[in-house]
Symmetry: C2
Subunit: 163 residues, 2 copies
Amino acid sequence: MRLTTKGRYAVTAMLDLALYGEQGPISLADVSSRQDISLSYLEQLFAKLRRKDLVQSVRGPGGGYRLTKPLEEIYVAEIIDAVDERVDATGCAGNADCHGGTTCLTHHLWADLSDKIHHFLSDISLASLVQSNNVQSISARQRQAELEASFAGDKISLRALES
Amino acid sequence: MRLTTKGRYAVTAMLDLALYGEQGPISLADVSSRQDISLSYLEQLFAKLRRKDLVQSVRGPGGGYRLTKPLEEIYVAEIIDAVDERVDATGCAGNADCHGGTTCLTHHLWADLSDKIHHFLSDISLASLVQSNNVQSISARQRQAELEASFAGDKISLRALES
DNA sequence: ATTAAAACCTAGTAATCTACTAGGATATAT
DNA sequence: ATATATCCTAGTAGATTACTAGGTTTTAAT
């Protein structure tokens, strides 16, 4: 089964859009610096997310990405599926040909597990993540850190504080 | 998260012991030919299973491995843990330092998922697998195939049929 | 005692995949 | 015109997996 940074990054980045994207499109450069994900890697992930119609792009200065649907209608499972991370615990992609063309002894166990995982991730929307205490507090801390970083930086930081 | 053939092979092999090991120890050569898993790879997996006290070995001719506990007390989660380290969907091994030392936005999501998976696999014993219809029917088919293979083989097959 | 069957051990390795870099082309607000 | 952004393709270091190779030790059977 696969669940690596690819899928985790995709969900984290989509959650970033959910948290910061209310006013307008968010550039991947912003997501990259906030969530500590390589910009070029994000570009590749968002190409897939766009192909699956989970985000829309706006090109040119001031552009970026926005979510195509309301937070309530975007589920974690979709995001992971979109970036090609098959959440599948079987060794045969569910084809039941794991033992030289026939079904291996444990096939159904892994198929059941895959179902459980998919159900779990299909029940969680971006909206429910945004509302959760965990995400709220981490997001608050990230905003705080960003503020302090810009404060320690140059004059532009003062304007950031005022707005 | 990790769930590859390593963990799947381990569970399949342990299930093979559960199905065939009532009379005495089972050699890895037998498991290898029945379940189509490389012998040397099995040896490496069973070294770990033995270290975790899930199996006992008997050396010398007629030797092999037997389960250390009754089927009811061996859970799939233990087996995977023994060879795979951990079924963990977080990127930080549960340390919550996934975002440059701090907790990333989605950490709790993956931690929750890991819990769910672990619970699922902790509830399934070798005994319950052996009793399941799926395993029963696949096991019956494997015994049948083995019988036919030995029948098509040499004289020894006749003795196998009689016993 | 010899032989053979088994566990036990260690090192190496081809193939695969991940996460990423590099270096652009294209679109568009200012 | 310029800068900012998406968009696109190719390549690649490093890690991991699944396995092979080549032994040694133990022990039942002859």
